[in-house]
Amino acid sequence: MTRYLIRRFIRSLIIFAAAATAIFFMVRLAPGNPARLYLGLEASPQAIAAKSHELGLDRSLLAQYGSFLGNLVRGDLGTSVRGGESVWSLVLQRAPVTIELTLLAVALSSALAIVLGMLAAAKRDSLRDATIRVGTVVAISIPNFWLALIFVLLFGLWLPGVLPPSGWVSFSSDPIGNLQHAILPVIVLGLPNLAIVTRTLRVSMLETLDHDYVTFGRSRGLGERRLRRAFALPNAVIPTTTVIGLAVGLLISGTVIVEEVFSIPGVGRLMVDSFQEKDYPVAIGATLFVAFAFIVVNFVVDVLYAFLNPRIRDLYARGGLAGA
């Protein structure tokens, strides 16, 4: 297990380095002098020359790349062009909001998905099963930004006062208000995850119910309900962990959009706003942070999968499965 952990950890580090490298070279694709990007459009030629030197733009590309990675390792993300604050503090200030929304969305939608997946698998090809299946296709297909706009319309215009249609209050200042503001964004964020996990669990439940050990339990006279819940579910849940990993990608795109539509001050909105304000140090910092979060979550999901799945766990314990 330790070997597996170390392997996965190194792999995650390499992927983060690849993402950071991609970001470094994409900045070179930006139109104009990077010094101008840092200083804003109104900067004087002298200031740009000075900044170019300060940023090391007069050095070789390789040397610049080296110092970019060096700063990254030291945790130095630079300062905002607009406000002059450190990018780190801006990102960290926004992070709890995004993390709260994402965790609530994953937890609630996964829990509900397990119930729905079980219900669908319990009566295969029944009306209930068909309804749940159609529901998941529709839930995956509805664009999240459109659903968010409909919610704004519904609760901002047609049903004023029922739920706050936009804005945010922190949990520490007003816990109940915080949760009220979280309801709509969490629904929009969680819906695709709900659909994907429901479908995966349904299929894996149907497959598990075909296994001999379940048939054996049935032949011993155990009730269907008990067979599903105590026998099949623990095994059927395992494949869904990998799907939750995939859904993280969707969730990240979701937070950017949800924060934008509902005016929530999270990292996703920081990222999009900083592009619009041409505040590139902040854009780079926020992007690196989101990329980092994505890679960390995938690492955790991988480890969780290996931990939950005894077959993989034992293989690693015996030192097998080389090269994975």
Binding site: P143, N144, L149, I252, F275
Partner: protein, 315 residues
């Protein structure tokens, strides 16, 4: 179909062909009809998708490109303007139809580009499965798959600005940038499916027969294996057309994709978001419902295809 027999010495090759070919077209045709009729949902999906393609291709020829500002501002839906008009007095039905053409272009472009890169990778990796060629190609694919592509795509579009970009000697338009970003995201999925299917095909007798007959490897891979690998790849392709249409709309909604005045379903909704609380509900509701129906249709088709090809899974 490339003429395999032309490079082969005798009638044996025709024998191999004859075993596999008779009635191929008719068989594929019958299969296609069976898939369309797979169940009621798949039929609805095909209907929606056919309508979408028809509207996207023919619609703008009749209605125009939706940039004309020739009506009243924010008119609610009526006979003259079934979707109402926007804040600049443009007909929203016309704009939505013009936007659906962009959606179709982005879907075909990004999925096509993704397939163009992924199929050779997946086919070659699968054909040489287990060798260093396979390891190298799939290692590359896996790294791309593990990258946070949405974030990187967002960053690329954000940092290079909303217009076109000059990359070395090549000018890349804003639309093309979006297409490339989505194609990069789709590529690893296509490559993996193509590889898995090729690994199966490799075991088949016809591949061995052709190999024994001395048919060049590239001809076996691209002439004979490729057509048999296509069905599972097409399932992925349909699902990714839905994802591509969503992704373009989302990027344009965030102001990072295709820019106004060119209408796309994403930037119409982006414009609409400023008028949410003025009572102009049609501005966001109708173009968004149109977009949702397009995506539902493609997802139902993808679902039906994967169902018909793999009845055991029924996801």
């Amino acid at each position: 179909m490339p003429e395999v027999s032309s490079t082969l010495p005798t009638g044996t090759a025709t024998q191999v062909r004859a075993d596999r070919r008779p009635g191929r077209v008719r068989r594929v045709g019958r299969r296609a009809v069976a898939i369309v009729n797979h169940n009621r949902l798949t039929r609805i999906g095909f209907l929606l998708t056919a309508l979408f393609v028809l509207i996207a291709v023919v619609g703008p020829m009749i209605l125009g490109d939706g940039t004309k500002q020739d009506a009243g501002i924010l008119l609610s839906p009526s006979g003259a303007h079934p979707f109402g008009t926007d804040d600049l007095g443009r007909d929203l039905l016309t704009r939505s139809v013009a936007g659906s053409r962009v959606s179709l272009f982005v879907a075909l472009g990004s999925v096509g580009l993704g397939l163009l890169v992924a199929l050779p990778i997946g086919l070659v990796a699968g054909y040489f499965g287990g060798t260093w060629i396979d390891e190298l190609l799939m290692g590359f694919v896996d790294v791309i798959l593990a990258l946070p592509l949405f974030v990187l795509g967002l960053f690329l579009l954000g940092i290079t600005g909303t217009g076109g970009s000059q990359v070395g000697p090549v000018f890349v338009s804003a639309t093309l940038k979006v297409v490339v970003v989505i194609a990069v995201g789709a590529m690893p999925f296509f490559a993996r499916v193509a590889r898995a299917a090729t690994l199966n095909e490799r075991q088949e007798d016809y591949v061995n027969s052709l190999r024994v007959l001395g048919v060049p490897r590239w001809k076996i891979i691209f002439g004979e294996v490729l057509p048999n690998v296509l069905p599972p790849v097409m399932v992925q392709a349909f699902l990714w057309m839905a994802i591509a249409i969503f992704a373009e709309a989302a990027l344009s909604f965030l102001g990072l994709g295709i820019q106004p005045p060119e209408a796309t379903l994403g930037n119409i909704l982006s414009d609409a978001s400023s008028y949410m609380l003025t009572g102009a509900w049609w501005y966001s509701v109708l173009p968004g419902a149109f977009l949702s129906l397009i995506i539902v249709g493609l997802n139902l088709v993808g679902d039906g295809l994967s169902d018909a090809l793999d009845p055991d899974l029924r996801t």
